[in-house]
């Protein structure tokens, strides 16, 4: 167990919040570079290698080129690189927290943190559940995307965006429906 693993879930979540806010303030290439070095340093401290970093940011690999393209066109190359680096660093940092903390402890910490908001009508348990479902949905949707892409390839339509997006969205909605039903069956609705 590395020091990062041992740190309390609440502490890590709080640190993640602070770091995220700090990252949002980064505007310069130097700042972005420092952020990357910092994040990699934390991974090293957690005794996680480059492969772990990659597995956390891998879901962004299609998204990032699109974002860079848009920002390059609208804000110029420098801003595009800084903003994108910031985004990737943020995801990597959040990934580090989830990779080094059991989800149930994270959720418990989150529920505690959100507790005071009960007074303004927020259901902390429900908010924590939504987060758990989001974490759980990543591999499920990734697998779905893989299936859709294979089916598309088998029919020789790999460059047709619509042939990819339509079954993916339909599949995701169907999955969401089934999940809702399963939640009710497990008594999470009562």
């Amino acid at each position: 167990m590395s020091p990062v693993h041992r740190l309390g879930a609440g502490t890590k979540l709080a640190a993640l919040c602070v770091c995220s806010l700090a990252l949002l303030a980064v505007r310069s290439p130097v700042g972005a570079g420092a952020a990357v070095v910092g994040v990699l340093g934390l991974y090293a401290l957690a005794r996680l290698g480059p492969r772990a970093v990659w597995s956390q940011v891998r879901p962004l690999r299609w998204f990032v080129p699109c974002v860079v393209a848009v920002q390059w066109a609208t804000l110029g190359p420098l801003a595009a690189c800084v903003l994108t680096t910031r985004l990737v660093a943020l995801v990597a940092l959040a990934g580090l927290v989830t990779a080094t903390t059991p989800t149930s402890l994270l959720l418990a910490a989150l529920e505690r943190a959100l507790g005071p908001l009960r007074r303004v009508g927020l259901d902390a348990e429900r908010a924590a559940l939504v987060l758990a479902l989001a974490v759980r949905s990543v591999p499920v949707l990734t697998a779905l995307a893989g299936t859709v892409r294979d089916a598309q390839r088998a029919r020789g339509r790999e460059h047709d965006v619509r042939a990819f997006a339509v079954p993916l969205v339909v599949g995701a909605l169907r999955q969401a429906d089934a999940l809702g039903e399963a939640l009710r069956a497990r008594g999470l609705d009562d």
């Binding site: 759980r136 399963a182 009710r184 497990r186 008594g187 999470l188």
Partner: protein, 226 residues
């Protein structure tokens, strides 16, 4: 003993009626439901834990009306779906099982002990801390079953739990279901699984058209489909 009573149950989706007045009294330990795609098996299964309530008629589980006492009914009736990926809520194996006990009032240590025992019983102990998405299809279905059983329901309803599985995993899941102390209602297309059952319902076009022991019901179903 657990008793499920369906009293002249009709289910309508919009204009379309998908169950046309089903009346049943189920008290047997092993009840199978077979029938063609779209015949109404899933609708029938979902009625048993109140996921669907009848458009008219009523469903009673140990005397509790699913329309008004849905929460208590679902505590008694566990449900296993076809696609375990839709049923597993938490990212890791033990956490998913523990989630079923979150309102049980047990201490964290007691929950951990119950979860460990249940995982062990279903051959998943070695995977306790693994991400659920790394399990095989069969193991995922066993996890879904474990998360249902840890709450000790009296009746387990399983809607085609083996349809997505290969032969070996089908066997594993079927063996677990067969070994349960609980009453089981199993919806399946795998006619081999139902031979040891007490009672088989054949559903066709929204009606129960055969209700008999397997030796009589399965041949009747084959003739119906011929």
């Amino acid at each position: 003993m657990t008793e499920v009573v369906l009293d002249d149950v009709h289910v309508r989706h919009g204009e379309r009626e998908v169950l046309h007045g089903v009346s049943l009294r189920l008290t047997e330990r092993r009840v199978a439901v077979i029938g063609a795609n779209g015949s109404g098996k899933s609708t029938l299964a979902r009625l048993l834990n109140g996921l669907i309530v009848p458009t008219s008629g009523r469903v009673l589980v140990d005397g509790l009306d699913t329309r008004r006492r849905g929460r208590e009914v679902r505590r008694r009736v566990g449900f296993v779906f076809t696609d375990p990926d839709a049923q597993i809520i938490m990212p890791t194996v033990a956490e998913d099982v523990a989630y079923s006990l979150r309102r049980s009032g047990l201490s964290r240590a007691a929950v951990a002990a119950r979860v460990a025992a249940e995982l062990d019983r279903h051959g998943l102990a070695d995977h306790a801390d693994h991400p659920a998405h790394l399990l095989s299809g069969g193991q995922k279905q066993l996890l879904a079953l474990t998360s249902v059983l840890v709450t000790a329901p009296r009746l387990v309803v399983a809607d085609e739990p083996t349809t997505l599985l290969d032969l070996r995993n089908t066997r594993a899941v079927a063996d677990r279901l067969a070994a349960l102390d609980q009453h089981v209602v199993l919806v399946t297309h795998d006619l081999d699984l139902v031979s040891g059952f007490d009672r088989v319902l054949v559903v066709d076009g929204g009606r129960v058209v055969v209700d008999d022991v397997p030796a009589a019901a399965v041949p009747a179903y084959r003739r119906l489909m011929a």
